[in-house]
């Protein structure tokens, strides 16, 4: 009996909070708020906040065309796998002290799990056979390479800081990082973590593929790149994945740097997490979107491997020497 209840509980984690339902609603709202904020910063009225929902449901009602040269299974399964993988990542990220499954993965695992949604979109696009997807794939991959180095440095810096504070030398586990912050306050209050936090803020739009790092999906040059041949519901699922990815990365930021703000009540924590995500989105995605123009792919690479890496490196070195 208890097994059944436990199973149902875990199923609830996967399906409701912090799983699918939460991801769907929060991610889409986040996306809508982002679009609204960008519009405000550009002196526009902007779409309604529920616009991503409209887009998603509209796409569900459209015809799905599979190009003759595409391999059907890969083409149709890629979005679903990407979505599922993203939701699982979200499950692994602790919501302050509440962690559904976060004891099962550490920061390095998260780093690699983040590759799976990217791979799913790359393979799905490649499976369509479109030349635009080929170019988009190249750019997407270079963007991933660009973000990887600074992200690694940020994660290592956090691992080292928490580890040396806890006396274990280093600490990769996200739930341990959350627990440490619950006891000792957010990591962002540490001097050595500030450059890492800034770097992480700059990594978020790159990882999600938001403007100005959206060379991979540049709709005006390469016709949405990897998504060029997607239509209907699969496209909607990709858009949903994109929205959830914004949620995932911002909540990863919260877990890494802003832990310890939770109240201990799960529902309230969820709301706080969402609000923090909104603030982070506003700063890292919307604001950056509003003030910049799209970068060329080699500029993206250069930006991440010089400026952002430099910031993260400063943080790592500071953390290494215990500052």
């Amino acid at each position: 009996m208890t097994i059944v209840i436990t199973a149902l509980q875990y199923l609830g984690y996967v399906l409701i909070f912090p799983g699918f339902l939460f991801c769907f609603l929060a991610g889409m709202l986040l996306c809508g708020i982002d679009r609204k904020l960008v519009a405000k910063m550009q002196k526009r009225v902007g779409p309604p906040i529920l616009q991503p929902f409209y887009d998603f449901f509209k796409l569900c009602g459209k015809e799905t065309i599979i190009p003759a040269s595409a391999s059907k299974t890969t083409f149709l399964m890629a979005p679903l796998v990407g979505l599922a993988a993203l939701v699982v990542i979200q499950l692994f990220i602790p919501v302050f002290s509440f962690s559904a499954f976060s004891g099962m993965a550490d920061v390095i695992v998260i780093l690699y799990l983040l590759l799976i949604p990217a791979m799913s979109i790359i393979l799905g696009g490649a499976a369509s056979g479109s030349p635009y997807a080929g170019v988009g794939l190249s750019r997407e991959m270079v963007t991933i390479i660009s973000c990887e180095l600074p992200l690694v440095l940020v994660l290592l810096a956090v691992a080292k800081t928490v580890g040396s504070a806890m006396g274990t030398g280093l600490c990769f586990s996200l739930s341990d990082i959350a627990a440490y912050q619950a006891m000792n306050g957010s990591l962002i209050t540490k001097l050595s973590m500030i450059p890492a936090a800034v770097a992480m803020l700059l990594i978020i739009p790159g990882e999600t593929g938001n403007h100005p790092f959206d060379a991979a999906e540049a709709e005006t040059e390469i016709c949405e790149g990897l998504l060029a041949e997607y239509s209907g519901a699969p496209l909607g699922v990709f858009k949903l994945s994109h929205a959830i990815k914004m949620l995932t990365l911002t909540s990863l930021f919260v877990a890494l740097f802003l832990g310890g703000l939770g109240t201990g009540i799960v529902a309230l924590d969820g709301i706080i997490l969402f609000l923090l995500c909104v603030v982070l989105t506003a700063v890292s995605i919307s604001f950056v979107h509003a003030i910049t123009a799209r970068l060329k792919i080699e500029q993206i690479f250069k930006f991440y491997w010089t400026l952002v890496t430099g910031l993260a490196l400063i943080s790592l070195v500071l953390a290494w020497y215990g500052l």
Binding site: E63, A68, L111, L113, P131, A233, F301
Partner: protein
């Protein structure tokens, strides 16, 4: 009767495992005129070898026994080893296991793959000799025997590299490999003889007993020579161009052997050399040497691979890049590091074998491995595509495949080492390893785009899926890739940790041969603890639940109600969105796919391109320079 029972005792299995391969080679020369007989003989000998090695797993690996086997019963006299010995500890057996599995799968694959070549008899003879050579190398307890085996496998590998001598570059690759490989072999021989001059023994255990306390100039020189010699076998930097040439030119089944087996023999030699014969691994500088060479191989080869536009050549560079991971992890000299390194060595054999076999399947069907001429094969060769993707995900470390499990341990190990030793250099190694991993992913994305996805060139309209035999061989590797990735705890507990423990039990290794191990520190307490958490099964379970729920929702909302054209006539609705009047062939090739990355590194790539000149003199020069540097290093440091 008792003699039969005695002969069936597992004490004899190591020599059986070696000899069945050589015997098979001999019998194929004699009776191999008929294809069926040849195939049966080859299969029998590789299966027997695999069976013998598997039978040894329990006593050696799990029970921790060390088999000391004196050929012809010539046990040491007067404290000096006179006879030739085989000594099988968990480390040897670990490598033997890799060898036998790789030989087995490669052999199964060859039956279909080599069907259309002439001189199949010679092929199988050389193939089995190659397998036997590596098997003999890893099971041997005698330094000179190791040299003999190195020579056998080098010859077999060179001959097999040049086997398809009409293929582009096969002869050239074989010649380069022969020249530099011979320099390496000569180094091993000189090193062996110098050690003999000092210690008057060739037995590994006895050398391990004698040398560490009696280091002098001659032994230091011998160390450098042996290190470089085994380095050429492992193709670590600066010998990596040879690997690229040889793998690229050899038949795919032989590429599997070269990358999965031959490089492992080099790694095995280096482990034996540094951990056992000289026991210098506790020196920080020695760790530095291994980690430095490992990281260099890792990074240089992965960037070289990004610039390649031949499928197999690209895989070859990746092979060395992964060997760099292994060497780095082994060089950390922590239990976790060695365990991770060996785990990665095993995974490397599996996924690299799988990838080479997939490349061979493509070559078999299309006749080319040029990335610019391929494309869109996923519709024609669906099984090969799936198997290739498993291999590609494994090597790039995508969870839950095996590459991730071992790389993840390597990151842990390097970072722990960095924290424990307080040396920020190891931190750099962690970072290089992580970046290398994503670059690996990038180049496999490139391969999948330019070979399996994208558009099908018109010349390849009639391509078919490869025969079952080849798919079966690939499926074995793929299955092993998935299993070893899903159960990393089982793998580490039952396979790599015993082997890693053996690395740290030099005293037992010496004692098992009947020599006095009192001068050697007993087994140090080894701890495989690591700080990370990764539970692939739970992850997979959650992923499956998530995927299932997504799929149910999708199917319920008629997600799969799609329109796809049927039949030959293609409506423009189902063509690709493209600027022309009609769909044209417009494959985005693999040649310069990641220019955004390469553009920022063009200076580096220019230099690399000039360095990899392809002239055999240059490669020989690199070898000599490497030798000189290592000599200098060992004279100063040891």
């Amino acid at each position: 009767m008792s003699s039969v029972m005695n002969a069936l005792s597992y004490q004899h299995f190591p020599i059986y495992a070696i000899m069945v391969l050589f015997l098979g080679a001999f019998l194929i020369v004699v009776f191999g005129g008929n294809r069926t007989a040849r195939n049966i003989l080859a299969l029998l000998s590789i299966t027997a070898s695999l069976a013998f090695i598997l039978a040894l797993v329990k006593p050696v690996m799990w029970d921790g026994e060390i088999i000391a086997y004196w050929m012809g019963g010539r046990v040491p006299a007067g404290g000096y080893a006179i006879g030739i010995a085989l000594e099988v500890d968990a480390l040897s057996l670990f490598f033997a296991l890799l060898v036998s599995v790789a030989v087995f799968v490669s052999g199964v694959y060859s039956i279909q793959y080599m069907r259309h070549d002439d001189n199949e008899r010679e092929y199988y003879t050389l193939f089995l000799m190659l397998g036997g050579g590596v098997m003999g190398l890893v099971l041997s307890g005698d330094l000179f025997n190791m040299f003999i085996m190195v020579e056998i496998l080098t010859f077999a590998a060179v001959a097999l590299t040049a086997f398809r001598n009409t293929a582009k570059g096969a002869l050239e690759a074989a010649f380069k490999y022969l020249v530099v490989g011979s320099i390496g072999s000569t180094c091993i021989l000189v090193g062996t003889s110098m050690l003999y001059a000092q210690a008057h023994t060739l037995n590994l255990a006895q050398l391990a007993q004698v040398i560490p306390g009696n280091l002098n100039t001659a032994t230091k020189v011998a160390f450098a020579l042996l290190f470089v010699g085994f380095g050429t076998k492992a193709f670590i930097v600066p010998f990596h161009p040879l690997a690229a040439d040889a793998h690229g030119a050899a038949p795919a089944s032989i590429s599997v052997m070269i990358s999965g087996v031959l490089t492992k023999s080099g790694i095995y030699g280096i482990i034996r050399l540094t951990y056992f014969l000289f026991q210098t691994m506790n020196l920080g500088t020695m760790q530095f040497l291994l980690v430095f060479i490992g990281s260099l191989s890792m990074f240089v080869c992965v960037t070289m691979a990004l610039a390649q536009h031949d499928f197999k050549r690209l895989l070859a560079f990746h092979s060395i890049s992964q060997i760099g991971y292994v060497l780095t992890a082994v060089g950390l000299c922590t239990a976790l590091g060695v365990s991770a390194g060996l785990y990665h060595a095993m995974n490397h054999t599996l996924f690299k074998g799988l990838l080479f076999l997939a490349a061979g399947a493509v070559l078999h069907e299309t006749g080319t491995t040029d990335l610019g001429k391929l494309g869109g094969l996923s519709k024609k060769m669906p099984y090969t595509t799936v198997l290739f993707l498993i291999g590609a995900f494994s090597i790039s470390g995508i969870p839950p495949f095996n590459g991730f499990a071992s790389k993840w341990m390597i990151y842990q190990a390097t970072y722990q080492k960095a924290v424990e030793s307080g040396n920020i250099g190891f931190l750099l190694v962690t970072i290089i390893a992580l970046v290398t991993s994503v670059l690996t992913l990038a180049s496999f994305v490139k391969v999948s785009q330019s070979v399996f996805f994208g558009q099908l060139p018109r010349e390849l309209e009639n391509v078919k899926e490869v025969p079952f035999g080849m798919r079966f061989a690939m499926a074995i590797f793929a299955l092993l890739c998935v299993l070893t990735g899903l159960f990393p705890n089982l793998v580490t507990t039952y396979i790599t940790e015993p082997a890693a423990r053996a690395v740290f039990s030099v005293a037992q290794y010496i004692g098992a041969m009947g020599f006095d191990a009192s001068g050697v520190a007993a087994e140090t307490a080894v701890s495989f603890a690591h700080v990370g958490v990764w539970e692939p099964i739970s992850w997979l379970l959650i992923l499956c639940i998530a995927l299932l729920s997504v799929t149910i929702v999708a199917v319920a909302s008629k997600y799969d109600r799609v329109s796809q054209c049927s039949g030959e006539a293609v409506d423009s609705k189902y063509e690709l969105f493209y600027g022309g009047e009609a769909q044209e062939f417009s494959q985005v090739g693999g040649g310069d796919l990641f220019w955004g990355f390469k553009h920022n590194w063009r200076g580096y790539f220019d230099v690399m391109h000039r360095l990899h000149s392809g002239v055999v003199n240059d490669y020989a020069l690199w070898a000599v320079v490497d030798l000189a540097l290592v000599l200098l290093f060992s004279l100063i440091v040891l």
